[in-house]
Amino acid sequence: MHRAASHDSPLDSRISRRGFLTATAGAAGAVAAAPLLAACGSGGAPAKTGAASTGLLQRILPQYKSSSLFKPDYPSVDGSTPAYLSYPSNLVRTVSEIPGAGGSYSAITPLWGTIPSANNPFDQAVNKALGASVSVNPANGNNYSTILPPLFSGNKIPDWIQVPTFWAPPLNFGQAAADRLADLTPYLAGSKINKYPNLAAIFSDGWQAGIWDDKLYGFPSYTAGFNVGYQLYYRADILQQLGIGTPAIKSINDLMDLAKQVNDPKAKRWAMGDIFGYLFQPYNYATWMLDDKGNLITQWESEAIIEAMNWMAKAIKAGYVHPDQVAGNYGNGITEFYSGQMVIVSDGMGAWNAADAQKGQAANKNYTRASFDFFSASGSGAPKVPLEAATAWTSYLNKRLTPSQIEEVLRIANYLAAPFGSYEYNLLNYGVEGVDYTMSGTGPQLNASGTKYAGSSVSTYNFLVSPNNTMFNAGYPQVTKAAASWAQRNAKYGYQPLFYELNVTVPNSLSSANAMTPFSQTSNILYEVARGRATIADYQSTLATWKRNGGDKLKAFYEGVLTQQKKLGSA
């Protein structure tokens, strides 16, 4: 109960969470469980979890040592991403020696976009700076989840590979890590990371995402102090044009009323996209949560999710949702938002940037993306928004690398993790001056070659390892202002849900229940209820079947993990 209170309160762990090892380890301790203790639940199997007891976690996690080369215009508030309005003119070198020793390494990372030709001028420039040959093979992000299992089962993984946390469960990742991946604990744990100052400047929460069964395996990318799954965006210019101005959405009913006002299919304008993915925020449900009596439940069993389904079904039935979204054709979603066919959409935090403004303004010169502040469904009380892990992007090294190779890769990783304002960061994100970009008053401007290679390869290297997120939009300071102030205002509503940042390895016998297929597959039961093709009763019976076929045992297993956490937390 005591623990429940601390999880439900957004503030206590959040404020102290940024910064120091002690704070982070303390927060993490709340969600840590000792490995190999038999779980109390009827699951029976020992609960092997991602992180160990507080003390052990302290020994595994690299020591955090902050580094900020330039003072941000929008400093971090409650963990929000620091933002810069201008680009530093005096870039700082953070790595004095060439990190590589001439080694050559293969890597695979996902890429959403056009895959540039191999060994292009940008790759060559990066490899030259690294002093090693890191040949990254970007793979189509859209089917990345299906290329991972054969790579892992066939033991065909490259030297360095990106495995997003959300695609790890089907790989039974705890075992994958032990069998196939290099243990980085001996190289990075505690003060050992001091050899690599840029890596040490990544938040401990980012590193925690790479811990499996008490060992550190992964490098974090895109680590953020404040990370939520979705934001609710809208077209500020369209609402202006309709005379609505900037609406204050205080509850889920306000949102429905606004939708009604905006919706006009005859003019080919629908109020919203399929925003069901966003609704867990106003309705406040998380994968694992405690009910009113303090019992552990899954979000599927919560009352809130049923209310959310009903709300979405009502919006779809009223015709407020774009037909393509109702049909599950999400591919054109962004184009439909740009063209004004959809006014309100849910999307990730990364959607609000310069590239978006550029593309949107190409479609409509008044294009302005804005985001509603968080609100609670009922409209009463402060919003409570379950946070996502500090990062979902983690890369791993192949077990067959020798210690000296691992050390070379770590030096390379240290280069790749150089922060905003450094010479290295500039190279990795914009390429070479004169070749890929020209420096203008507002920051680096990519030229044609830069757009083709550096521009499309940015995520390729960043998915290996990258510094903590910062926000900067060359040429679009107004975008930075809006997005950064939104984050500063809203970060305080985030709280860490149960098992936050804990990589739990479930026993094999529970893995199929853990996949939660009825609720997660392409056309799942929630999706069907929202479209009026299934009823709440159908939903309940699907839930009952899932619970019968392993769901209840899975819950018992997690109850065991929770009990361990409580023991350790109070110890």
Partner: protein
């Protein structure tokens, strides 16, 4: 080199040779068998690439099917994963999701078979009756082209026209219809939607075989019948259609073989539009449970059931064809 290659050929080709002998019904003695081998050597060599292809991509992967009887673990592989007997199949046949997918498969296939099958035949007869060679070639090119489109494109084009934000509904809305029918998301009419997509995409392509069969019917038969006073319909019923019977039966049987595996892509793309109630078939079920959810054994069990049922269907249909005195897949 030459000898090694030749031995390889002989080794691979043996079953084919035996089959040929058996089929013709000659009690082959050993020397004659060798003579035949020497005589057909060139043909047998030409079979090798196809056989290798079949072996590597058709038969070798089938070994993986044993995982249907295991609790397959990604890291233990098929050699070390624990055996579970028929447990996966037991779960399969009590899973309402699977049974529904099975029913959908049979239902969608039947509707497609009944509505699609006659279209290429009719199209071929129609085209065959055109006199102008130029128009014929033009029409043939137009109706064949969609075959080369992927289903992604076909569904997109249908969506642009019939979807809720498509051309038709936009037109209707601008003319006062407030909530026009959305053909793309209605589960009730889904079977007709997929059939029309199939007809648009494949009818022209399937027609080519029938055109060839029509060309093989001697024009003397038509002339003689016409002289005897037979009109167009009479000639159609007594000459044209009987001439197409053999090829029709063959294609029908081959189609049955695909009955349970058809339209994977087409269904997967539209699964979200109409929901699993209407569009979940065994192949998509196997994909979602096996590949997406990582429950490989379960997916493989569904796949194996599908393969076995297809073989039974195709052999059964062949048997029926033989009973009616047709050639079927091979001459008896």
């Amino acid at each position: 080199m030459t000898r090694a290659a030749a031995t390889g050929v002989a080794g691979t080709a043996t079953p084919v040779g035996t089959l040929a002998v058996g089929a013709i019904g000659v009690a082959g003695t050993r020397p004659r068998w060798r003579v035949r081998l020497r005589r057909d050597r060139a043909l047998l060599v030409m079979c090798v690439p196809a056989l290798v292809l079949l072996g590597v991509f058709g038969y070798a992967p089938m070994l993986g099917l044993v995982m249907a009887f295991q609790d397959y673990d990604l890291y233990d592989g098929i050699l070390h994963s624990p055996w579970v007997g028929l447990a996966n199949f037991q779960q399969l046949f009590t899973d309402p999701g699977f049974l529904h997918a099975f029913w959908n498969t049979l239902m969608l296939f039947s509707v497609q078979l009944v509505l699609f099958f006659p279209v290429p035949i009719a199209l071929a007869i129609l085209l065959d009756s055109l006199m102008s060679r130029r128009i014929r070639t033009f029409v043939q090119a137009v109706v064949t082209l969609p075959h080369f489109f992927s289903f992604v494109l076909v569904v997109t084009i249908f969506n642009q026209v019939f979807g809720g934000a498509g051309a038709l509904d936009t037109f209707l809305r601008s003319h006062g219809v407030t909530s026009p029918f959305d053909f793309m998301t209605d589960p009730g009419t889904f079977k007709f939607l997929v059939t029309s997509q199939l007809i648009w995409k494949e009818a022209g392509w399937s027609m080519i075989v029938y055109l060839a069969a029509l060309a093989a019917i001697s024009s003397e038969l038509h002339e003689a019948a016409a002289v005897d006073g037979a009109g167009y319909w009479r000639r159609l019923v007594h000459i044209t259609l009987p001439g197409l019977k053999g090829i029709t039966v063959l294609l029908l049987i081959l189609n049955l073989g695909y009955a349970l595996t058809f339209g994977f892509e087409q269904m997967l793309i539209q699964l979200t539009a109409v929901g699993p109630g209407a569009a979940q078939v065994i192949t998509t079920f196997s994909f979602e449970n096996g590949i997406v959810a990582g429950n490989y054994s379960y997916g493989a069990a569904a796949g194996l059931f599908l393969g076995a049922t297809s073989v039974i269907l195709i052999l059964g249909a062949n048997k029926v064809a033989h009973l009616f005195g047709e050639d079927g897949l091979y001459r008896k």
